[in-house]
């Protein structure tokens, strides 16, 4: 599969990354390289095999519905680039 320029830009937009004009070719080349390599998975004999998500066979791990408040609330906002009225501030969103 050949990755087209527009496709790369579309993917970058989905990932909220900006790719400068002069970086495009590099990214295309790298992506193409790695995808060509990754294509090996399509040769693997996986007919009929289920998909494994995690590495073990655990299921139904739940938590009780009991309130436990986080003890250091203020520290949750200490890294905010900009805040106001105990909220995270961002440019106006319509």
């Amino acid at each position: 599969m050949k990755v087209e320029r527009e496709e790369l830009l579309h993917i970058a937009k989905l990932a909220n990354l900006k790719i400068n004009e002069e970086e495009i070719d590099d990214y295309l080349l790298n992506l193409q390289d790695i995808l060509n390599f990754a294509n090996i998975v399509n040769d693997a004999p996986v007919e009929g095999l289920k998909e494994t998500v995690g590495s073990d066979d655990r299921y139904n791990v739940f938590r009780k519905d009991e309130v436990k408040e986080f003890e250091d609330e203020e520290s949750l906002l200490q890294n905010a680039p900009e805040k106001e009225n105990h909220m995270f501030k961002i440019p106006k969103v319509l």
Binding site: N16, V41, A44, N79, P81
Partner: protein, 493 residues
């Protein structure tokens, strides 16, 4: 006596016999950091003053017979992707340059708050653990103590180099595709990636959630067993953490491999594996035979599939895991914005380095509509295949033995322009993560230029004991640490 050359079990023995005090130990390490850090560059944050302060307090408490934990006062280094309350956790990224976690991760909590070890600092790594040389760190390039012109491996390069350089007695690393074992191998130290689920991931900044594991990087196998005994164990904050009883892994160290069945998968000795590495591993195999183990060649033809699968799955998960770095609640925010979209795009583009962006792009691509089935879904099936192949082999053998890294440490900058070549550095290790198994890397020789070579012992899920014993028995017989020491050559160039 050179304190910083001692293993933790040796330090512990001397502490118990009152031949050493906690403050003496801490002071020795602080001095060592002050001496060697300028050459090795393994720390992102050093906590030397705090460490001395804490060592005094702990000594005081111990005098009052307070119960502080078995390893109270033993220094440790922590890879900088583990959240530490009140101390910067940067993931070696500009994105988190000033980030202070509001909480301690589970493993950090066990080691620092419960066990009362002394944190000497946060260790350098590839940015967000993405890399095999620690060169993608935003802050600095860590050097290999065996040759300062070479990389320490990665991504836990800071941890491995700091242990090798005796700047910390032991360290915590994390391993997604080889990030503990490969740098341990390149730096001539011991590194263990536990079975997926044995150690809690809560507080480990996620790279690839289904593959990440925290593990010890130590001077010898006994230390690895000791540190694993502390950090392993169920955590209700991580639903993927296994609910099995805690163990003392040092009890497994029998110094006996008589009758142990070791399989050597021939595919791990093919093209791309350095001849000197092969030779060294073959010698180790001979040693095992001498020690009474039954060693046989076997077939495990999944390495390439596993590597491709690894890059698909790890990048897919990373592309999602790193979405939270959006410049809103924490982390780097661009100065260059007028609207929200620009905050997103510019903060992420300026805050992440090239390798991280490459992997986010790849991960986004393989999950995007139209490609999901061809890549991600296929990769998840290959994962089953890899698991099955390992299971087949591990039903015949107690341990599988392979090289840890196809080569010894390479020169700084040698591979950093070729991502795919860099990815091949993980060829021997990633399949273990894909299968979720435990893998131990121990030194088994050096090449002609004196660079360490490591071998990897792979065990059954949750059977860390067998590989630890196998590694320990070899270590006792081979005595790598008595034969070889890093000499910090190639400095001031």
């Amino acid at each position: 006596m050179n304190i910083t050359e001692l293993t933790v079990h040796e330090l512990k023995e001397k502490l118990d016999k009152k031949e050493l005090t906690i403050t003496e130990i801490t002071k020795a390490y602080v001095d060592r950091i002050n001496e060697k850090e300028k050459d090795v560059q393994s720390f992102v944050t050093t906590l030397t003053d705090e460490a001395i302060e804490k060592s005094k307090k702990i000594e005081e408490k111990l005098k009052n017979n307070e119960n502080l934990g078995k390893y109270a006062g033993i220094p440790i280094g922590i890879k900088d992707n583990m959240c530490t309350k009140g101390i910067k956790t940067t993931c070696s990224s500009r994105m988190l340059e000033n980030f202070i976690s509001p909480y301690d991760g589970t493993v950090v909590n066990r080691v620092i708050n419960e066990e009362n070890m002394i944190d000497l600092g946060k260790l350098n790594m590839d940015e967000f653990a993405m890399g095999s040389s620690t060169e993608t760190s935003y802050f600095k390039k860590t050097k290999n103590p065996w040759d300062l012109r070479k990389v320490p491996g990665g991504s836990s390069g800071g941890s491995a180099a700091a242990v090798a350089a005796n700047m910390v007695p032991w360290a915590l690393g994390s391993d997604t595709g080889g990030s503990i074992r490969q740098p341990a191998s390149l730096c001539g130290v011991v590194g263990l990636k536990p079975t997926y689920g044995l150690v809690s991931r809560y507080g480990l900044v996620a790279f690839a959630s289904s593959l990440d594991q925290i593990g010890p990087i130590t001077k010898d196998v006994r230390d690895a067993a000791m540190l694993l005994s502390i950090i392993a164990g169920h955590d209700e904050k991580d639903t993927t953490s296994a609910n099995i009883p805690k163990k003392d892994y040092t009890k497994a160290l029998k110094n006996d491999v008589n009758g142990l069945k070791i399989g050597v998968p021939k595919e791990f000795f093919g093209e791309g594996i350095n001849e000197e590495v092969k030779e060294s591993i073959n010698k180790a195999i001979e040693k095992y035979k001498e020690l009474g183990a039954i060693v046989e060649e076997t077939s495990l033809d999944v390495a390439e599939y596993a590597l491709a699968t690894y890059y698909i799955i790890a990048c897919a998960e990373a592309s999602s895991n790193l979405g939270r770095f959006d410049g809103i609640r924490y982390g780097y925010r661009t100065k260059n914005f007028t609207d929200l979209q620009e905050i997103y795009e510019n903060s992420r583009s300026e805050g992440f380095g090239a390798e991280v962006k490459r992997r986010i792009i790849l991960g986004t691509y393989v999950l995007s509509s139209g490609y999901y089935d061809a890549y991600y879904k296929k990769a998840q099936q290959v994962r089953t295949l890899v698991k099955n192949e390992f299971a087949k082999n591990l039903s015949k053998y107690d341990v599988l033995l392979t090289p840890t890294s196809p080569t010894t440490a390479f020169k700084l900058g040698e591979k950093s322009n070729n991502p795919l070549e860099m990815y091949l550095a993980d060829i021997c290790t990633v399949s273990v993560n894909i299968a979720g198994l435990p893998g131990l890397s121990i030194p088994c020789g050096v090449d002609k230029s004196g660079m360490p070579i490591g071998m990897q012992l792979i065990g059954k899920a949750f059977d860390e004991e067998t590989i630890l014993n196998a590694g320990y028995t070899f270590e006792q017989a081979y005595k790598f640490r008595e034969k070889y020491k890093p000499d910090f050559k190639g400095g001031n160039n």
